[in-house]
């Protein structure tokens, strides 16, 4: 899977940056090809877009007099308010209202970044940054560490009772050890599954569109790009929903 030509290749400093990165980092570990920086450029662009959008919306929602009344047409602020409402409606049945409000910035940021990164791939000439395992794994590993951090923060050392299974008495020690091993393995596969799911969907979709553009250029890629739109929205939704479920499972108090 060599590095493809995207619009980022036309930036003036791209080639020098690529050679510097290759000299420092060498070969990728999984695919054994020389490293590329297309995904870094795309991800930085998405981060820039999100920061700019945040600044643009922040001004309007701080002045309380004009913040209560929505705008008449579809502006950026209305779009983000709608987005937050939808995410809160997604998170409330799972976590309860106070936790949903607390975690809305995290899930909103992750959802916005993944959605914009996926949509960037539909524009011809751009590769989605999430089609690379580096970007998706970074987000999945952060969510993984945050589940344990918030679990420990809300429950203290009793958080480890989650791992020990249903019976926590001294006579059930073999069962506890067994359950601990199984729970650790299932916890470790969570970031793997989150990252590989998103990366695989985006990569496969992009590869399909590329192959069909080679074979039947003008008409056949159009339904594929339409399905790509559906898939990118659904995959962003699934990532957010699964991370919400993991966090809610970590912070839920033990019920007997």
């Amino acid at each position: 899977m060599p590095e493809n030509m995207t619009w980022w290749n036309f930036l003036p400093f791209y080639q020098a940056l690529l050679e510097w990165t290759r000299a420092k980092l060498g070969i990728t570990w999984i695919a054994k090809v020389p490293i590329g920086i297309g995904h870094t450029m795309g991800f930085l662009f998405v981060a820039l877009l999100v920061i700019l959008a945040g600044f643009a919306v922040h001004q309007r929602t701080r002045k309380t007099a004009s913040a209560l009344i929505p705008d008449g047409r579809m502006t950026l602020r209305n779009f983000f308010e709608l987005f937050s409402e939808i995410l809160l409606g997604l998170m409330e049945p799972i976590m309860g209202r106070p936790a949903a409000i607390y975690f809305l910035p995290l899930i909103g940021t992750v959802g916005t970044i993944i959605m914009i990164s996926n949509l960037l791939g539909l524009i011809p000439g751009f590769a989605p940054p999430t089609s690379n395992l580096n970007t998706t794994a970074s987000m999945a590993v952060v969510i993984f560490f945050l589940t344990h951090y918030y679990g420990l923060k809300t429950q203290g050392i009793k958080y480890f009772r989650h791992f020990l299974g249903p019976i926590i008495k001294w006579y059930a020690l073999p069962l506890m050890v067994f359950m601990f091993v199984i729970e650790v393995i299932s916890h470790l596969t969570r970031p793997v599954s989150l990252s590989v799911r998103l990366m695989g969907n985006m990569f496969a979709d992009h590869m399909l569109v590329a192959m069909f553009t080679l074979l039947a250029p003008l008409v056949v890629p159009i339904p594929l790009i339409a399905i790509g739109l559906l898939i990118c929205v659904i995959q962003a939704l699934v990532f957010c929903l699964l991370s919400v479920i993991y966090i809610s499972m970590a912070i839920a108090p033990e019920e007997h």
Partner: protein, 130 residues
């Protein structure tokens, strides 16, 4: 000002930050990495040359079969699972048309979760034959 109590969770943050920053510093301060090339000694006789060619073509054919099997079986099982989910959703919708809107997001979520298992097979196929 009261000092905040240090909790166990705070003790997790420091190793995490150290690991992140340390790995970045480590990788970017390393000198230029030279790609190791392990060269086998050149095949000397005609027998060794033909054996090398045969083994290479056997490996290539094995990889093709493995990649095709991986994606084929994954798609087979995935399509069955998604078909059952769609059947359940449509049966429920036909008995109770008003509840279709309530269950549609959950159905899409389940379809995406099953599809992720198919994508794992596709990743293996791509790793075998890029």
């Amino acid at each position: 000002m009261k000092r905040p109590k240090i909790r166990i969770a705070h003790m997790l943050l420091v190793p995490f930050l150290v690991a992140t920053v340390g790995s970045a510093v480590f990788w970017y301060s390393m000198p230029a990495v030279s790609a190791e090339e392990s060269k086998m000694s050149e095949p000397t006789s005609d027998l060794e040359k033909s054996v090398a060619r045969l083994s290479k073509s056997l490996e290539a054919s094995g990889r093709s079969v493995a990649a095709a099997l991986a994606i084929g079986l994954a798609a087979f099982g995935g399509a069955l699972g998604q078909g059952i989910t769609a059947y359940a959703f449509l049966m429920g919708a036909s008995r109770n048309p008003g509840s279709m809107g309530k269950f549609f997001p959950n159905t899409i979520l389940i379809l995406a979760l099953i599809e992720s298992l198919v994508i794992y097979g596709l990743i293996i196929a791509f790793m075998l034959m890029p």
